[in-house]
């Protein structure tokens, strides 16, 4: 990893230069919230408490599709300790909301469309009282036929889940139960087929993955004297919540004041509203503060999941091992409501070929409306599903051609200047071949790594662990490689901006910077990076990060690997504006003392104004002393994008691409079908590591979620009833420390000239290639085709 700490002037952005101040960008500074998080004092949303507060609880549908004949709340309302019971009939204003399409009922409006849909709300003085009262609400359901896949959703006579659609996708979809459909067509596939020396086709399936953030959906709504409400909440995007909540409450946005509370992870699962509007409705109805906290069971119903997918691919290559064409059909199950399905479709379609050059492409991606649980954002966002399929195809094509799978990928790897299937040229480094080379060059873990010095096996290092199922017999090692491509930032013409307010002032004889944004810190470390940027740009050591709230403009979503890029960019530009004003102030106050004030390029460094030659002109504190604080608020945008053409998928749809490659080493007990991932190595280009420690943490965390999808994670939905069968951490498994291997990381830093500091969004790319690398390794160990994730023991034993 580079040790340089040169902020680098980007002429294209018209900025003067930052400085080499200690604790600035490029250093592994520690989290400003770290101490509070290890002492237990950090206030997560579920920790909030208010005098006189009530507890909210949600009654949810036990059916995947049913008409509500009647709702009787009398007995619930009469329960001592109950202060309010709300149903759809009690809603004061807008009754639906949604991120892209307002199709989601605040409370069920006569029909429930998925298992766990909210039907009624209770506020009571104890959470158990609220739960018991909710159980006394009598709802008469008339069950309706369910649609659970493409066949049933588009069959003649299939129930249309959202009749009379008026959203922007309704006009171009082939069936009303299809949310959005995006083709991508480039070149001449038919002609390319005629020239192909090797062709492989395959059908693949990806199960429904859950974000499984550990901090459950929670928040506290406090009614205010002005008729408004203050909401303390764990979310990924305060202003998107606000935009959806205010109409539901029938309040202007300035009467709904939101403050971010501690967020226990997100991974996409907090992009949509969960209990936000519900808690506010109960607070406004009762005039009392209302806290809502989901338990884990409810959390599985309280947020959207990763779209399960069925993917059909055909790849053709010439004798020299060059891709000639790719065709694909990607069917994503969006579940009962749209959430972010349209954008997920756009990603799956535009990134469907992977990080490879391919001149001829015919792809179609679509998302369905079904009666399955709603699906939306999860780390990797449409690119994960495609990567599992195209990487399996690349391995098979390599085998067909008699080529090493890494060599075959190298021959087709895209690089700077390559053209995507959408026609967009990749105009920054795309070191796909180099990442594969690096990950392959890492030392391999020793064979028979379970053997101890004494000769006996350490069971903990074997498949099955201390269940003592093998001492090495029947255990076969396999190695697999994969690489992926993810877009960074919001795409397809979205106005993706962030706001930052920065203040510099003299406090206690020292220059102190304050950074205020609405960025949701969900664990990723954005607050750490903002302080580093302020130190670099303003040359101060003391930086205060203000709590994120809606008193400042939107910072956009903490998703799409975008926050360091976009809100980081906004902080940087706000700092630069402050810096120019401080330099002007310095010239006014002290300019006559030294000619360099007028002639030299000036920097803010270590609390001083210095020339680029290193001569100190003034202490920052002296410039700021006795003056009003210098403050600037900046709204910053990345380069604009454009929508994909609805018929051809052509268009400059993405801002930036990020790339990661994995090598997985697994050992499989072939008799019992148990898998031990021995090592999961990753190489990733991050452009510029603003905080190397955090970058490594993102890569290892993302890789682990990919490992989970490969071998254990799936929400099991009954294909007949549409009901969720495993909503608990007993039955939905996420990797433990015993399931997770050593994860060596090799970070490449090739600057993107279009991005602040040259950085490249980090968080998602490692989640993509991890899954196919692990499965490729299991395939090599077992010789099985393995077209579905998660791979389960029965898939390996055939039992």
């Amino acid at each position: 990893m580079s040790e340089r700490n040169v902020p680098g002037r980007l002429a294209s952005e018209g900025l003067t230069q930052g400085s080499r101040t200690r604790g600035g960008i490029g250093e592994s500074t520690l989290r400003p919230d770290g101490t509070l998080k290890v002492t237990g004092e950090f206030a997560y949303a579920s920790d909030l408490w208010h005098e006189d507060m009530l507890w909210g609880h949600t009654l949810r549908s036990p059916h995947a599709h049913a008409r509500i004949r009647s709702v009787d709340v009398a007995e619930a309302l009469a329960t001592p300790g109950v202060y309010a019971v709300l149903t759809h009939d009690d809603l004061p204003a807008a009754t639906r909301y949604g991120l892209e399409i307002q199709d989601t009922p605040v409370l069920a409006d006569g029909v429930v469309r998925h298992h766990g849909e909210p039907v009624a709300l209770v506020a009571a003085d104890h959470p158990e009282t609220a739960r018991r009262a909710a159980a006394k609400i009598r709802v008469a359901y008339e069950e309706l036929p369910v649609v659970t896949d493409e066949t049933s959703a588009t069959a003649p006579g299939a129930p249309v889940l959202h009749p009379g659609r008026t959203d922007g996708h309704a006009a171009h979809v082939p069936h009303p139960n299809i949310v959005h459909r995006q083709p991508v067509r480039r070149g001449d596939v038919a002609a390319a087929k005629a020239r192909a020396a090797a062709v492989v086709t395959g059908e693949y399936e990806v199960g429904m993955q859950d974000q499984a953030f550990l901090g459950p959906e929670s928040g506290l709504a406090v009614p205010a004297e002005d008729g408004g409400v203050d909401l303390y909440i764990a979310t990924q995007w305060l202003h998107a919540d606000l935009r959806q909540i205010a109409p539901v409450l029938g309040l202007p946005e300035d009467k709904v004041r939101m403050t971010l509370s501690g967020v226990g992870g997100a991974f996409g699962g907090r992009e949509d509203l969960s209990m936000q509007a519900h808690a506010c409705l109960l607070a406004l109805r009762t005039g009392r503060p209302v806290k809502m906290v989901y338990d884990r069971f409810e959390s599985f119903f309280g947020h959207v999941h990763r779209h399960p997918a069925r993917l059909r691919y055909e790849h053709g290559a010439d004798r020299d091992g060059r891709l000639l064409y790719v065709t694909a059909r990607i069917v994503l199950d969006g579940g009962a409501y749209a959430s972010s399905s349209p954008a997920v479709v756009g990603n799956a379609a535009s990134l469907s070929v992977g990080p490879y050059e391919c001149p001829n492409v015919d792809v179609e991606a679509l998302a369905l409306y079904t009666n399955n649980p709603p699906c939306g954002a999860m780390r990797g966002f449409g690119a994960v599903q495609a990567c599992f399929a195209y990487e399996a195809q690349m391995d098979r094509l390599a085998t067909e051609l008699g080529l090493n799978p890494v060599e075959f990928r190298r021959r087709n790897a895209m690089s700077q200047g390559s053209v995507m299937p959408t026609g967009q040229a990749v105009d920054s480094p795309a070191p796909v071949a180099e990442l594969l080379r690096r990950v392959k060059a890492m030392p391999m873990p020793p064979e028979r790594q379970w053997e101890t010095a004494g000769g006996g096996p350490d069971l903990r290092a074997l498949p099955g662990g201390v269940a003592n199922t093998t001492h090495g017999e029947g255990v076969v090692r396999g190695v697999g490689y994969a690489v992926g491509i993810k877009n960074v930032g919001f795409s397809e013409g979205f106005d993706d901006y962030s706001t930052a307010r920065v203040r510099l002032e003299c406090a206690g004889g020292e220059a102190v910077a304050t950074v205020h944004t609405a960025m949701a810190e969900v664990g990723q470390g954005g607050v750490t990076v903002h302080a580093q940027i302020a130190r670099t740009e303003l040359g101060v050591s003391r930086v205060t990060i203000q709590p994120a709230d809606t008193r400042v403009g939107s910072a956009g979503s903490t998703s799409a690997s975008r926050q360091t890029y976009v809100t980081g960019g906004a902080v940087r530009h706000a700092c630069a504006t402050v810096r120019e004003r401080v330099l002007a102030l310095g010239r006014t106050k002290f300019g006559t003392y030294h000619p360099a004030w007028a002639t030299a390029e000036l920097l803010l460094e270590d609390g001083k104004i210095v020339t680029d030659g290193g001569e100190v002109l003034a202490a920052l504190a002296d410039v700021l002393e006795g003056e009003e604080p210098v403050e600037a608020e900046v709204e910053w945008r990345h380069r604009p994008t454009e929508p994909f053409d609805l018929r051809t998928g052509q268009g400059t749809g993405h801002v930036q691409y990020s790339f990661a490659a994995h090598r997985a080493v697994v050992e499989v007990d072939t008799e019992l079908g148990l898998v031990k991932v021995v090592e999961l190595a990753c190489a990733q280009d991050v452009g510029k590591a603003l905080n190397p420690l955090s970058v490594t943490g993102q890569i290892q965390g993302g890789s682990t979620q990919g490992l989970g999808l490969a071998v254990m994670e799936e929400i099991a939905v009954d294909p007949v009833t549409g009901k969720v069968r495993n909503p608990s951490f007993t039955d939905y498994l996420i990797p433990t420390i015993l399931d997770t291997p050593a994860m060596p990381v090799d970070v490449l830093e090739l600057a993107d000239p279009h991005a602040p500091y040259g950085l490249r969004g980090v968080g998602e790319a490692p989640t993509l290639s991890s899954t196919p690398a692990v499965v490729a390794a299991i395939r090599q160990a077992t010789g099985l085709a393995l077209r579905r994730v998660p791979v389960r023991p029965e898939h390996l034993t055939g039992t």
Partner: protein, 181 residues
């Protein structure tokens, strides 16, 4: 009902406790100690791990009444238990910050109590021992590598509970926390 227990060395009393409440609920909602976390409330994630008479347990699986008359140590009491004054971090707490083992931090309190217990039993654990000791604690952010680093670092610095001054700089000043254990 009324429940009396010793929490982090101090006698505490909770009144009007409903019999179905867990120790976790009483700590969080009645005693003002929300450090122990409520990630699953079914004994699967370990985020509510506390020591009950010295033994690590999931506080969500302990009925409040079972804690009557017993000794409870939560994440809020780790530094005090190590004999440190207010505002100081125990070795394992410091190591979690320094090693980058904290992201969202929701798993952290439970992992700290479990790691503290491990280091008290074994001041120099192997990687396999660390993995085994922490296998009841789920983390969704880190992939556990930095958590392993943190426990190794805490062990190298003197392990369970020893006072530690390393890295106690003003955070706003930007400590260079690259932890190479």
């Amino acid at each position: 009902m009324r429940v009396n227990m010793t929490v982090n060395g101090r006698p505490r009393r909770a009144d009007d406790v409903w019999e179905g409440e867990s120790l976790l609920y009483v700590l969080r909602e009645r005693l003002g100690l929300p450090g122990s976390k409520n990630a699953c409330e079914q004994g699967e994630c370990g985020s509510c791990t506390v020591r009950l008479d010295g033994v690590p347990v999931c506080a969500c699986l302990v009925a409040a009444g079972q804690a009557e008359g017993r000794d409870v140590v939560t994440v809020e009491g780790l530094a005090t238990r190590a004999g440190l004054p207010d505002g100081k971090l125990s070795a394992v707490q410091r190591a979690f910050v320094d090693a980058g083992a904290v992201q969202c931090g929701f798993c952290t309190p439970g992992l700290l109590v479990a790691a503290d217990d491990l280091l008290a039993r074994d001041p120099d654990p192997s990687d396999a021992d660390i993995r085994e000791a922490l296998s009841g604690n789920l983390c969704r952010c880190t992939g556990y590598e930095k958590i392993l680093d943190a426990v190794r670092l805490a062990a190298a610095r003197g392990g369970g509970g020893a006072a530690d001054e390393a890295g106690a700089e003003d955070e706003a000043g930007g400590t260079d926390g690259r932890a190479e254990a």
